[in-house]
Symmetry: D2
Subunit: 375 residues, 4 copies
């Protein structure tokens, strides 16, 4: 693992998610650019000192030369955005599979560069757009793409948080610090951090690409350099219209990722904060609420394969995240064993990363130019 | 009453709302451009034949000359959009107060013309943006405008319906027919019908004007002349950003008017389909849910004055509509008695109508020109 | 109208409900045992002084002798419980139809007496168990009784309020005063006031009689004479088991009437505070949510006949109450015109009143004797 | 681990929960009474063959003699009810700490026997009433016991499931098979399986003991030997009244554990299927909704200590379960290190097990005798 030391939010999430199914074991790490933090973090996680590194380059270099039984199968990158590209590049070059946080990089060029290598070397690459791991997101995707909702006409997607309503980046909040710094976060703030999730979820569920957009990005907290709020009108393939909203200054919102897809025969609503429900509304029938883990035939094989316990025992964020790791691990095993990968056990990959960066580029450009911009 | 004969949706709503508090009595009407429909409708409503008219002009002309004890206090106009202006104009000229459906007219010029007369003659004019009649909308307005939410930063408002998902205007649905016809509905379809409600509600609650916008209007059902869907980025005074979405092809949505207002200290959420709740979220306290009719001091005098029965006995659409009529009737009485109008008992007026028409003009222009447009 | 003067809660509800559909007109009243209150109340309601009475006996005596065009069709009784029996008796004897608040009387004997006369004279009698007027209650009844839920096994019904959490009967709350006084309320407090609603709703929806019960009634606020809380285990015909809970000291509960019916093939949940939803859950399908007023075929003719406006425009307590009046008025017209009554337009009658009194007797007896008691 | 082999529901839950915080490692197991199943299960879990046992007695005997660095700290018992007592007894005698599923045993005597040994030998014993692990249950407990709700008057608790609506115990459902067999499940079915959770949660949150009850247990599915449904009136210390309902034939209910506590100043509602919300209602303030993981001071130190990720990232069943394991592990460490146990990090223990068995005994006796029965 690269990054994720003491004080990290996403590091422990990755570790809990990876541990859940007993398929993945943490064996080494460069947990922080601060050697002491890295060492302490590693020790707390029960690693022997010789597998704890002060720098990720050192780690990749040494770990890649370990014997097959000791060498990790993959490298997990949970650093701030600007520190995705180079570790990912080196890890891929050293022959590792990679799990990497989103957004993939801080420029489109870097993203394309990584994509080239992944494709050339047939590496397995997982970009942790973790919300696709929820069973009801799988069901939403299935029901949208198999035509049950008819012709899709409209999408409303939003990702709202409120934790940046004050200028917490100046009062010691590490999560906020790097996100507010263009050098570390990249060309966008809120849009990079959570807008990309909304974007990816939209394309994931509908199977249609967002082809152009008009956006207004704002820094609603005074003095903030990067956007903390954005309103975007989106146009997808085949005439689908919609809106994408992202904000980190929507005070009171915790982690409200919410998507609605409207078709000519039905529509769906899914909310991350109530993730085990999927509301489907039809032209002339009662509303239907699909539920995680019922095992009903109507829920479908794919959604059922992504739940762990009987219906009514809430499965949450970590479980969804764990589904990415589980599927990634299955893919690594399958490749190793020369087997086919079952497409039901999918996870976001390098293409999602490239799409995300193109989205970010377009959304920033449109806002600056006050103009419709193609992706 | 002008309009509202057999087959009308809004006519009966007006009648039920007006009757609720026992302050208003229907005495005459020209219920339809079809004389037979008008006569039958009037008879069903228990009116004597001599107070039922084949044409609204005839009605205004005759009724305005009745003796004081027979003459109605006001004229209620519930016709399609294109038939608001002239009846309103004539009613005002004949000395009647007026209750009129929204949007006020089909052009800004007509709206300004009516405004001139209302102001000149000090007429009482109620435009039935009925959603402002809900107690929790009153509370939302109070809490926003008294500063409790801090500086307002962002608004997300949406009004979604699905009833035009099919081309019902061609299969005998009268409500749909005139709404789909530019001659009768005016320059916009969905935006005129429900977008104006969302617009007015936003300005009503925040007390801030929307000053410019960028919109994309669409006809998502093939062959429809007017917009049935719109996505709008809005900018309000004082740097407030936001999104306004309206659709009548959002299949599965019934009558989903929903507004969120985010400030620097707190935020609110109100939903028309769950109208007796108002969710307030603060920076560092539990969520709060204000409820209609609790009588709690915290609910406030104004909201409590707009409910009729104890909390937990759901008050709905008709009750909210009735609040407009009640307040309008109180205003008519107050003026008549030479008393001051209590500002707590407010209702939307001619200015809301003018604002609405300017909004419509801007939203259509922006969509055509792909450009930010001032209101 | 007998009762319902200034300070009454239920009087205005009756008047708003009766007025809603334009079928019923208030023509006279004895609104209070206090002549001044009665006179003032009547005047505020726009009645001429000669139709306002100081005493209900005087009113029945005089009004029953009026000419056919002036004589009211029915008498509406909205007094405290102990004042139902005699006015109802006299009104029936004088040839009026009757609308009466629940519980019907304060003893089973009185109830049986009234039933005898209603049946003998073929009077139309409406007991205002108003919750049966909700469209989704009609649907719940239909779906239960047509066998869609399979064999019914279990019912959980509760009616919880919190307004008597303090001893408000001693601080001037008129509603509370008479309810806390055994002479005016009868043998039970909370159980008479709201427990009877829960009881009647259970039998109404399931179509099965509660045949025996075990109860514990309590006065949880110190010094209160009548029960303010009750927990009851109920057994219905055909081996159906269940629980009925009623409380007026469940602080925080507003007017929480809620019923769940579980069958061998499906189950339903309906909540008065969210009355336009009916949740149905099946053995192997997604949840279904039926919604008021969608007009869908699946909603059924009966439920649709009890809504007034399109889906998504919330219909509430007053509308449901108005459905009783509308149906009662239709029945009065039908009888007058010698037509059949359409069973879809039902309303609770004298039998419900007798059942309710028997329930009260059993629930009190069981609590006193700590013993299963038959109804 | 004893039990929890292939086909088990609760085995994997225990393993995921124990793994989550990286504090606990599975080292050995007797996963099934079927040696082959045990071996296969252990292998799938990555255990070496020599740590996989065919019988739990053999396991305890051998593992207890291992060197300190290999010997497990505790034994986890996840077998059917009748197989709790003896393994627990032997594990305790062999000097292990114990984690055991509920109900503790199948007779009160066995429970008391275990309690005696735990107390005598100062063993750490965790009974997995896992629902107490939810952060909002901790908050509910705190707010009830610190007096904020005033004097507690009434409790309504229910635990409803529908999965035994058919006689699945005869069609190969292993979970159902042993639960339906009095020899394996003990004196009660539904009440033992889930009624005990409702019982324990009530006492846990209120801090008051249930002192007597009146119950009706039923087998609503024909031919079932043990109860699948129960309705219970409960009386707690200090005059608190209430109802406890449990059912496994409430078709459509997934895992609906729900508790309401009403006091003289406020009330609370917590629902397992929406576990990150805690609704508090006050006498004269808006509703309040406390939310898991907000970090707000108002949420309190204890609740915050039982969440892992920021608010809005749903934490579910496994996380709550993991909280028991985390706290148990902390206690084991604390004892070992001679430190005090922080009472905030609590978990249910042997006393809860004894209370649960006494409850079961009373609930069965009352139902048989139709009589109030003391616990």
């Amino acid at each position: 693992m690269i990054g994720g030391g003491t004080g990290s939010f996403i590091g422990p999430v990755h570790r809990m998610a990876a541990a859940m199914d007993g398929m993945i074991e943490l064996v080494s790490g460069a947990f922080s650019s601060n050697p002491e933090n890295s060492l302490n973090s590693g020790r707390q996680l029960g690693l022997p000192d010789e597998r704890i590194y002060s720098h990720w380059e050192e780690m990749i270099s040494i770990e890649s030369k370990l014997s097959k039984d000791k060498r990790p199968d993959f490298i997990c990158i949970v650093t701030p955005n600007f520190l995705h590209y180079r570790p990912a590049l080196e890890a891929l070059k050293a022959g590792f599979e990679v799990v990497c946080d989103k957004p993939l990089t801080i420029t489109v060029e870097e993203a394309l560069e990584l994509e080239k290598i992944v494709k050339r070397d047939k590496r397995i690459f997982c970009l942790t757009h973790n919300y696709t791991g929820y069973p009801m997101v799988k069901k939403a995707r299935e029901i949208t793409q198999n035509g049950e909702l008819g012709t899709i006409r409209k999408v409303v997607v939003e990702y709202l948080q409120g934790w940046l309503s004050d200028k917490v980046e100046e009062s010691g909040n590490k999560q906020a610090e790097w996100r507010a710094d263009p050098k570390k976060a990249g060309m966008a703030g809120c849009m990079a951090d959570i807008g990309t999730h909304a974007f990816q979820l939209t394309e994931y569920i509908t199977g249609k690409k967002i082809i152009r957009l008009f956006s207004q990005l704002s820094s609603l907290v005074e003095g903030r350099q990067l956007d903390d709020d954005g309103n975007v009108i989106i146009n997808l393939e085949e005439g689908i219209k919609g809106t994408l909203i992202a904000s980190q200054v929507a005070l009171g919102e915790e982690n409200n990722l919410r998507i609605r897809v409207y078709g000519s025969e039905g529509s769906l609503l899914w909310e991350q904060m109530n993730p085990n429900n999927l509301l489907i509304r039809w032209k002339d029938k009662p509303y239907e609420v699909y539920r995680t883990a019922t095992g009903f035939e109507s829920i479908g094989k794919i959604a059922n394969a992504h739940s762990r316990i009987p219906a009514g025992h809430p499965e949450g964020f970590i479980e969804a995240f764990a589904n990415l790791y589980r599927n990634f691990a299955l893919a690594v095993h399958a490749i190793r064993d020369g087997k086919e990968i079952d497409p039901s056990y999918d996870f976001p990959g390098i293409e999602d990363g490239v799409r995300g960066m193109k989205f970010l580029e377009a959304v920033v450009k449109s806002s600056v130019n006050d103009r419709w911009t193609d992706i």
